[in-house]
């Protein structure tokens, strides 16, 4: 159980002129967490666990949560540059960059551009590339599925993914609507990937751990394994009884994997 001093809190932070909601807290080596397509609760066991032994910075991407969505923010490219600016503006270095789902795609785009302030990379159930022929569905299309099917594919345990709309506050509903808009803005087409990224993953020159929920039915472990093979020297591990969002469904396991990775030479 973390003390109040290290429990991370959400603050408004201006990065490159964009006002972001950023969860920050904890002391120690720097971990930056980039969330996935489903957004992120600002109070969540995964971040609290990380903050017990690290300095955590977890932004809500522009358009998610209460983060501003500038009208000219269109793509993951914009997010990659924004977060490179963030590392500099918050003076973060030797960062362990952890990205999950869409956040993993952003993390990879950051790492192929510059690892100057990054010492290691963790990609959890990340998207951003494709391997198959035009009609193969490498990444389940969230736009085409019913809400029930999205939940079933996203989580090993349906209970974890169940949304109680009645219990949600008005602000929660606005955030939920904002998240859908932001996700759609960044991932619509080409769906959930950058056709140019695959070619450049070899540029990632920091130790990389690729983590996958074994029961991820948005992007399969087979996809994750192929992704890992494109990143020099990376390691691929799975978490059992875990779907597409390990930070929500298996926070302790994911935090443990991150800390162990940070302790490696």
């Amino acid at each position: 159980m973390g003390s109040n001093i290290t429990s991370p809190v959400a603050k408004a932070v201006k990065i490159s002129g964009v006002t972001l909601e950023v969860v920050q807290g904890g002391e120690g080596e720097s971990v930056v967490f980039l969330h996935g397509s489903d957004g992120m609760s600002v109070k969540t066991p995964f971040l609290e666990g990380l903050a017990e032994a690290a300095h955590v910075t977890a932004p809500l991407h522009p358009g998610f949560g209460h983060s501003e969505l500038p009208s000219d923010f269109k793509s993951v490219d914009d997010l990659a540059y924004l977060y490179l600016d963030m590392l500099r503006e918050l003076n973060l270095s030797n960062v362990t960059l952890v990205g999950e789902s869409l956040g993993g795609w952003i993390a990879a785009e950051i790492a192929v551009r510059s690892t100057e302030r990054i010492s290691r990379l963790v990609l959890a159930d990340s998207v951003g590339v494709r391997f198959g022929s035009p009609t193969e569905v490498d990444i389940a299309d969230l736009n085409m599925l019913s809400q029930e099917e999205v939940v079933a594919r996203s989580y090993f345990s349906a209970e974890v993914g169940r949304r109680d709309l009645v219990g949600m506050s008005d602000d929660d509903l606005v955030v939920m609507s904002r998240n859908r808009v932001a996700m759609t803005q960044y991932t619509w087409s080409p769906y959930m990937h950058n056709p140019r990224l695959r070619r450049w993953l070899h540029r990632i020159d920091v130790p990389t751990l690729v983590v996958w929920g074994k029961q991820d039915r948005i992007v399969s472990p087979a996809y994750g394994s192929k992704l890992a093979a494109l990143i020099p020297g990376s390691r691929f591990v799975t978490i059992d009884r875990c779907g597409h969002y390990p930070h929500v469904e298996c926070p302790n396991e994911l935090a443990r994997l991150v800390f162990e990775f940070m302790l490696e030479d």
């Binding site: 085409m144 019913s146 709309l165 509903l173 606005v174 609507s177 808009v181 759609t184 803005q185 619509w188």
Partner: protein, 405 residues
């Protein structure tokens, strides 16, 4: 008041294949091409009567759906541009926000306008929300893309001194120089469609005429906003700038006319049948509105406003369960003998302060060809001549008159 014959060219036989979703994901194995051919020819035969009947032709477009086989409205309009000599031809409308190529659209418009020798009116629309999926058109920012496509199409139609280039937010062209150029100068009259009152001012701002579909009493609010905004802009509108689409059925006997109207109302019963995930694409409505709608939908018996009919006393009834009489009372349907249909239209016309364009959904659902032709023929012979002379008079609500009697 001109009347425009309208129908969706539905494949009604496919409607019982799913109660969940007739759009986007209903496999086209349920579409028999031989029957589809019969349907397309049948409706072209009906539209082709327009010259003889003194009516006009209005054609829409929808995609990936058993509710409409017209996947490109330019094609039947071009065929009818050749088959008719007098009738007006209107698209309502071309999906300029969803289609990837506004210059292709400008070329289609020019071809129809030239072939018809200047009888085309161009309705340019956003399409139904669910259609962003088959079009793969980004729903976020779609209104901005609509506006850029509109500006580009108008410029392509009205530029005659050589190529221009366009490097916009959404579209990029290096050599815009369409041949043929349109027949009408600077271009065919423009129509936008709106279902809510606020669309009136926006349409007026963009110099277009405004049409609305089956919105009943809400249409008055829309037209009032449009007229007011036009006056503010220093270019007062005329009834020619206003269009209203109703379900209309005529017959010798009232009962038969209402039966025909009920068949056409199959459109209302099936058009919204689409899987939930496609009903409200992200970005289509502002997030606050979206959040309020989610909250409202938690109440038992909730029906979204767009699926309701506004009544005289301000209350709303669900469209899905409204009776023909309720729909007649609230100007969504005009049905009866020719005399009855005329008085219903006159009452509506007085209610909204006069429109110049009545869009007649004269076929829908399982209404067969013989009944459709009979309905149009009666309308053309007995109703249209009176509409040609129709003047706006003080509004008298028939329903209240009958109640008082």
């Amino acid at each position: 008041m001109k009347t425009w014959m309208f129908c969706e060219n539905a494949y009604a036989e496919g409607w019982d294949k799913s109660s969940e979703s007739l759009r986007n994901n209903l496999p086209n194995k349920y579409c028999d091409p031989r029957k589809a051919a019969d349907i397309l020819h049948r409706h072209l035969d009906e539209w082709a009567m327009a010259d003889e009947w003194g009516l006009n032709i209005c054609i829409n477009e929808h995609h990936a759906t058993a509710t409409c086989l017209t996947a490109d409205c330019a094609l039947p309009l071009y065929a009818l541009a050749r088959e008719t000599k007098k009738a007006g031809l209107m698209s309502l409308g071309i999906h300029i926000a969803n289609r990837p190529d506004p210059i292709r659209i400008a070329e289609q418009i020019a071809m129809i306008d030239v072939l018809s020798r200047g009888r085309f009116q161009m309705g340019l629309v956003k399409a139904s929300p669910y259609e962003v999926y088959p079009a793969n058109a980004q729903p976020v920012g779609q209104t901005r893309r609509f506006m850029e496509a509109y500006q580009l199409i108008v410029k392509a139609l009205s530029t005659h001194d050589g190529p221009f280039s366009w490097e916009g937010e959404f579209f990029h062209f290096r050599d815009v120089n369409i041949w043929p150029r349109p027949y009408q100068d600077p271009h065919p009259p423009t129509w936008f469609v709106s279902m809510s009152p606020t669309g009136g001012a926006w349409t007026a701002d963009n110099g277009a005429s405004v049409a609305t579909f089956l919105s009943g009493r809400v249409s008055k609010l829309l037209f009032d906003n449009y007229r007011k905004r036009c006056t503010e802009l220093g270019r007062p509108s005329s009834p020619a700038n206003l269009g209203y689409l109703a379900i209309i059925a005529c017959a010798e006997k009232e009962e038969e006319a209402k039966r025909r109207a009920w068949e056409i109302c199959g459109y209302l019963r099936t058009s919204p049948v689409v899987a939930k995930q496609w009903v409200n694409p992200p970005g289509y409505v502002p997030v606050e509105e979206n959040a309020k709608a989610i909250r409202a939908s938690q109440k038992p018996g909730y029906v979204p406003a767009y699926a309701t009919i506004l009544q005289h006393d301000g209350t709303r009834i669900p469209q899905a369960t409204a009776t023909i009489d309720e729909m007649i009372d609230n100007y969504v349907v005009f049905a009866g003998t020719p005399d009855q249909v005329f008085s219903q239209i006159k009452e509506y016309n007085d209610y909204v302060g006069g429109i110049g364009n009545l869009l007649m959904m004269g076929q829908g659902g399982h209404l067969n060809h013989a009944d459709t032709m009979d309905s149009y023929r009666l309308f053309a012979k007995h109703v249209q001549p009176r509409l040609n002379e129709l003047k706006v008079e003080p509004y008298v609500e028939r329903r209240q008159v009958l109640a008082a009697a």
